[in-house]
Symmetry: D2
């Protein structure tokens, strides 16, 4: 009898506690077990960097770039693309799909040959829902403003540490994103929340954004209520490369 789970000793324990008149009757372990619904199974990747079975793969050697991405006009993306590696060339690119809450894995590489400094070196960006930027920058021995370096939430939160690898090395961002919810007046009921792990190192720990990323001015009272949005990658004039991008909707 599969379901006859409770032994006589358990019954006696329960009865005993009651009979002896304790103020709060003793619970049994099974009372805090929750069985339903069963947790869905996901097959993880071979390594933690490989896409698990429920991920939407956005960039990989198996996919032509135009499968999941378009340029700013909604047309075929005009970036260099080879072996699943896309390199900034003309315009920004963004996903055809729209996303709300998600877990995102991105790999990127700044040019091996160092040119420029501060914001002028290896600059690109990943825009969550198209408007909230996680900065991409070659911050390896390259001082800039703290809230604008690699893995900053641009001009809103500096990273906890600078975990940048050197120019020409592939780097990883693992991003956990909770989309904002809005009040009727267009202000945040709950703001966007972002966690970023850079090359395995926690650099943003569930921080709140104030509004869409702004290059000039204070990011507030400029947001409009929005639903899902695309992921977009920025052309900032430097030939930064991307690969192995996958996303899991939460």
């Amino acid at each position: 009898m599969k379901n006859l789970k409770y032994s006589l000793s358990v019954i006696m324990l329960m009865v005993g506690n009651v009979a002896f008149g304790q103020q709060r009757p003793t619970m049994v372990p099974e009372m805090t077990e929750i069985w339903e619904p069963e947790v869905p199974v996901v097959k993880p990747g071979e390594t933690p960097q490989a896409p698990p079975s429920d991920a939407i793969v956005l960039m990989s050697p198996d996919l032509p770039l135009e499968k999941e991405w378009v340029n700013g006009k909604g047309e075929k993306p005009e970036w260099t693309y080879e072996n699943g590696e896309a390199t900034v060339s003309k315009g920004d690119i963004k996903t055809k799909r729209q996303f709300g809450d998600f877990q995102l894995h991105v790999e990127w590489r700044s040019p091996k040959e160092v040119k420029g400094d501060s914001q002028g070196r290896g600059n690109s960006g990943i825009f969550l829902q198209g408007i909230y930027e996680v900065q991409v920058l070659d911050s390896y021995n390259n001082r800039t403003y703290r809230n604008g370096q690699a893995a900053s939430l641009y001009k809103q939160h500096a990273p906890l540490v600078n975990a940048c690898k050197g120019p020409g090395e592939w780097q990883t961002y693992d991003i956990i994103y909770t989309a904002p919810r809005f009040k009727d007046d267009g202000t945040f009921f709950t703001p966007p929340m972002v966690t970023v792990i850079h090359n395995g190192v926690l650099v943003q720990n569930n921080v709140a954004l104030r509004g869409p990323t702004e290059y000039i001015g204070i990011p507030e009272y400029t947001s409009k209520p929005h639903g899902k949005g695309p992921l977009s990658l920025q052309n900032h004039g430097n030939p930064v490369s991307f690969r192995n991008i996958w996303i899991r909707e939460l």
Copy 2:
């Protein structure tokens, strides 16, 4: 002149906006740059699973087990240990060091030979600050209560998905932990917050705990204010193995 950063055009922009009498004068981009203090540099590991330069390595082939761990009595740990892999044998083990907020990487493996089922199969646990358990269990094709399976915060939060690998395979937990802060009466001012990534898959997203893990009853009004605490690994009678454990204090 390194610091003479603002061009005449910027000055004119500022003056212009003021002269034209806008209600809110336009800011310039530099006003939202924050330069100090410089973000500290951390050298990441070769892979995201390898310890970065600021991590405390707790278990690795280079370390004898007794360097960082003790048994329940504070004496030499009595687990099997070879090549940086520790396997449950006698009693629990815990770190000599105490931790508050941290990022933690742990790898674990349930026995290749499957024995038992539900909570009886590949069961162990990682206790944050010694009292908050992240469940370790062979949850591969092994149904149990949802709030007690692998990567659950035991009897408090089921994982979002079951990302377990098979028996005998090494698995990873990446855990971000924010320790509770307390009121004078011993209740939480802020509760413990936990994020868990299991084999690269997000399974707990900054969830709050109600109190120390309880096998029986509701976890509340049982907590006492506490400071830092050790990491402890549970002996639940199954020969689960651990390796490559490192932690970064936040």
Copy 3:
């Protein structure tokens, strides 16, 4: 020229800072003034207990009870009602209107003649959105379980202090309520949040609920996604009275 607000000295200040090459140019006070949109005007009541101009008055001497309230079947409420004071008699009553986030003012009185004790004395309840109970009880020299006394969020949060007035005295609850938002699976994205001020004394400070109020068992995994809901007043068999109820939607 109404808008020409900035004097030459302000312009010179801005220019000066830039010209001298500081890393972060000085802002002027006007840059952090936000003028639009204008904040809507509300005329407050004569006293803080009287309804402000934007409140929906639910119970007052000017209103017949059936204007805003129905019984459990949606029909005419069967409570005693005189001079804007409703007294528990038959069944529960609830508002015709549905509410989401709100500020609520309620006045209540337990019977002057004391009968019964613990939960049996002056027991009623205010159910926010019809399912989350703020307990009404004569807790004046009347010991009961702490999470079931007056101003508790029944079986979820005891009040910080017991600010009860004596039997037969009118008492006030000022309640600030933020409704839950839901995920697609029916669990809370954000839980209901409740602040209660009892007779002018803060007794619940923006605490989170775990689910709808439950008399038996742990309130979780029983919630269903819901939108707005009515305010309902409980018949627990004791002739508790209510008056001067108003609500402001937030």
Copy 4:
């Protein structure tokens, strides 16, 4: 036997559920009752505006001003004071006592004779912990920037509505304040949280502050870790009056 609370029927219910082998045994109501510790009793004021028994009275007709207040130099306060009503004259005043988390009641009145406009009319301020300002201003038919009007958290949060009474009328602020907690680097672990009820109308709903109030610039990266602080009242050059100030430490 006072504690023998559970009848035979309850025992049978518990046993019955177990015997029939349900997956999760039924709890009984008493299992979610929490009896200890007893909630402390506070005697509320006659009206919600009168100080309850556990309040520290800071300003009342029974108290000389110098009992609880000093000027900026820690000496006898130099404000006009009569019948428990203090009017701005020379310098700021602040409490001798220091406070952390609290509930605060303040009554204030702008001059009956209207002089000036915008920030120049009936301007004063209440500084929580000496550095976080709740604005006091005659905002009755007096347009100014929304984040600087009465009941704003100055230059951080505009009030939800403008609930100002007219010049010369006494007004109430009921403020619930949670002090910040700090990380070792001086940034907020949790920010200051503020609720304000103005003349009975909710105008700030548990909003977070970014840092100490700043007249110029963005309030961040300027905070230093601090413990308890005084309450201070601002001299902004207008003869604003205060009375009936009491505070309850939380």
